[in-house]
Amino acid sequence: MKFHLKVWRQKNAKDPGRLVDYTIDNINPDMSFLEMMDVLNDELIRKGEDPIAFDHDCREGICGMCSMYINGRAHGPQRAATTCQLYMRSFKDGDTIYVEPWRAKAFPVIKDLVVDRSAFDRIIAAGGFISVNTGQAQDANAIPIPKADADRAMDAAACIGCGACVAACPNGAAMLFVSAKISQLALLPQGQPERYTRALNMVKQMDEEGFGNCTNIGACEAECPKEIKLTNIARMNREYLTAAFIQE
């Protein structure tokens, strides 16, 4: 397969950056998008050019590193998939493909397609510790948890922090991510002691990082590779508003 690529190239955070044209041929339709990028980089290195910097790690859809905005969609056109799970057979021979980094004030570009997502780490850190009993680990069955709650908490915990929600949101809001992180603990007994301070602190950090505000558009839910639901955002709103009224 042959493709015309328009890839965002940016030397560093200060460089204004631009889209650069590349044509690539002899691509196997069963290659993943990242493997196609590897082939392109191999060609660039052989020509003595600077290869395209992009984030990647597990290449099996669980790490959330491969942030690429492909043809106007986070992680490309496929539903519930990361870039490494996107295969070249999803495109037509001769297609023009635009590849851009995540665009958000809170995710500054480091180089080319690599953005700094440490804002997410700072939000997680703001959530703080959870209180646990010291001593021997207690029996897993000692705390009764209804199956439905456990399922909902696990669904929220599926979030891999890739940032596709921010990238896809017209407002650059991080609420799907933050709500998943708040929900996974708020739903479980282990998360109860710090439940309200956690909601207040994580939302405060989210606002300070310069993310936008949720206007319930739903693009995040549609683009999320782990299909995190908007109900989590409603739960976060509930947790936060309750916390705002009861915390001293």
């Binding site: 650059g172 809001a173 606002d207 936008g212 206007t215 319930n216 558009i217 739903g218 908007l230 739960r235």
Partner: protein
């Protein structure tokens, strides 16, 4: 604690949009119900009776101030959110395909709100402002004949078109806003989501349709 958290935080601002939005929805119900009295087609007798009550009752006049505050807070808070959201993405995408993951009217609440605001200015200039001006601060009984004014204003086809366009904007704004208000307040439950969604769609169609029918009916002489 509560005040600073509510007014400064992202979620607090959204909650304010939701509360004022729901309050403005209750206003739409009252406004639409009373105006619908023109459909009695009795020369405005029923309509004028209710309009007189609304223009002279002290409790209603007090609520009118709350209503103006509700509009102002909804508008100012909306503009603040719009500005913050625009600033959250300083560099735009060269190629973007948002129609693949969301509805255009959900993404255009600021634009639709602005269209409604323009309509609101024209609309209040036709009826509410001249009426309150003539009443002054003390002479509340000295109202203008709102029914006669309606018959006069809606003879102009351009005015009718502007009113219908205002109602169409309101329809799209409500279609997103109604259910969105519940989500922003965290009122989301598997049992009631469907009910909220259906009520939202029904309300968004019914109220703007009734409003739009008023100038149209007068223009075509169905109501005299």
């Amino acid at each position: 604690m509560a005040q600073s958290v509510i007014f400064k935080s992202s979620i607090g601002k959204k909650a304010i949009m939701a509360v004022t939005g729901l309050f403005l929805i209750t206003f739409l119900i009252v406004h639409c119900t009373i105006n619908a009295m023109i459909f009695y087609n009795d020369g405005g007798a029923t309509f004028t009776k209710y309009a007189h009550f609304m223009g002279t009752n002290p409790i209603i006049r007090l609520m009118e101030i709350v209503l103006i505050a509700g509009f102002l807070i909804h508008i100012v808070d909306g503009l603040l959110l719009w500005k913050q959201n625009r600033d959250a993405r300083p560099v735009k995408y060269a190629v973007n395909n948002p129609q693949a993951n969301s509805k255009w009217y959900s993404r255009s609440m600021g634009l639709l709100g602005t269209l409604i605001l323009i309509f609101l200015i024209i609309h209040t200039a036709h009826f509410w402002i001249p009426n309150r001006w003539q009443q002054g601060l003390t002479n509340w009984e000295n109202e203008i004949d709102l029914y006669a004014r309606m018959l006069e204003v809606f003879q102009n086809p351009w005015v009718v078109l502007i009113y219908v366009a205002g109602c169409v904007s309101l329809f799209w704004h409500l279609l997103h806003g109604f259910k969105s208000a519940f989500q922003s307040l965290g009122l989301n439950h598997a049992k009631y989501n469907r009910l909220i969604e259906i009520s939202g769609i029904a309300f968004s169609i019914l109220v703007p349709f009734l409003f739009a029918l008023m100038p149209v009916s007068i223009y075509f002489g169905w109501i005299k």
